[in-house]
Amino acid sequence: MNTNVSLTLPAPTAKVEAIERSPGFWSGVIAKLMRDPVALGACAVLFALILIAVFAHQLVPSDPYQTSMIKRLKPIGFDGFPLGTDELGRDMLSRLMLGTRLSLFMGITPVLIAFVIGSGIGILAGYAGGLINTLIMRTIDILYAFPSVLLAIALSGALGAGIGNALLSLTIVFIPQIARVAESVTTQVRGRDYVEAARASGARPFTIVRVHVLGNVLGPIFVFATSLIAVSMILASGLSFLGLGVRPPEPEWGLMLNTLRTAIYTQPWVAALPGVMIFITSISFNLLSDSLRSAMDVKS
């Protein structure tokens, strides 16, 4: 019946008519980031690291797995080894470059998976409210009752060493944290009048979440998740440092730090290099996250 009415409208012409459009939220955020030198610097560093990770095999100056008993623990600037060699005589520069792969992968993946699952759980709890919310959030509280380092180590320790187990443990560590943030922003948004108005218009819950909730909660959740990447980098390398993550001979910064620990008296600066890489990466993620937070105007 309504559709008959519309047939009398010259609708298509109205659509073609150009209107003035304001820039959307995300283009505004990008524009703000582009004016922020700190954010640009952090982005440049991270971009370079990602490039190194992707093209590591093409870029490395020598074979990162090639051991040599004679050239063990050479200092920085040693002939042919610009950053020296490790305890098995392998080229540090090449190993650090190749290590970017696993280190970034182990740092980012858990947060990424936890972002998807944690947001889902948190938005469900926040939008459904009531009993569902109580059940979900009380369960989350239990995982939240562990300090994150302890939880990661407990899980990894029980599951055993290995990349997969380390990723799983870290993901479980971050899910409750992200779910909590997601739940609290969703609960806030759910109380806004535009959500009420959407419900009053007869829209189904799924449609309301897709159109009105997601756009308003994903920003703050995303900002929080980016701030976790630095934590995740440090934790993932920490697990490898304890021997719970990546296993030798694969290069990973935390693991390299562990195996070079005995060399701190002979070649201290070489031994410290993998930590410098972790530090640089985690600072860049933290700075980017801070810039993103202020660009998106998210209250912490």
Binding site: P147, I153, A154, G157, F279
Partner: protein, 317 residues
Amino acid sequence: MIFYLLRRIVYTIPIMIGVAFFCFLLVHISPGDPLVSILPPDASIELQKQLMRLYGFDRPWYEQFATWFWRALNGDLGTSIASGRPVATEVMRAVGNTLMLSCMATLIGFLFGGLFGFVAGYFRDSWVDRVASAFSVLGVSVPHYWLGMVLVIIFSSWLMWLPATGAGPGGSGEWAWDWAHIQFMVLPAITMSVIPMGIIARTVRALVADILAQEFVVGLRAKGLTDLGIFLHVVKNAAPTALAVMGLQLGYLLGGSILIETVFSWPGTGFLLNSAIFQRDLPLLQGTILVLATFFVVLNLLVDVLQTTLDPRIQRS
């Protein structure tokens, strides 16, 4: 108030049970039969069954959990597979060392973090603020286990001012508050303090800037209150939150000290966990985690209660 207290305690009970259940599960998620590590390699099927019954692994999980939980409540955390000693004894000895180190680190972190944060918040947007903020970003970004190594390189290997590892002469059994022992604590405590320092600095900065921007401070200035008076006002208003953050940080350090204890061979729970993991001593792993998590939950409860008492603005109903 008392009603709130009671409810807060009642609310903690299900969480504690959940935490215990999680620790209970740790043994069951680990790959392989839980008996493998204590069984002789040539054990007969008969012996296996006997042991299964002895340890209760043949009963349904909830019965196993109930038995385990009841024993844990009574202070029986099982027996360490590696050392054969009761887990509770081992953990309690290590917890003291970890607590000592964590408290020291929290104290250092709070003092310096509070100072940086206060100065930064007081001179907001000045160069002091920027320097302090940069420091706090560094503090939360640094991999602390690496920082520990760097400090060892500088102060032990290079300058030779402080010992690198251990807990002093006589090991952990003979700790005393003299320089011979305390010098072993300096590097790990400083390393550890970096984590809460950055967070406390950020919190205090935001608090102070917030309080100074409020109208009542403008009013106080207008009434001719001196800078010292305003300083006291700010401290009074910022203290409850700052102390709460400090309490929570202490809890995180208790659980998060494992990496630093490993670097410095500090004989605390972290060290214990580390050996439990490598010897696949699951009862020890389980017991240590349970004790640390309990500390954390109780600490959270205390912080919450204290904050409510200190800060009349927080209405908890």
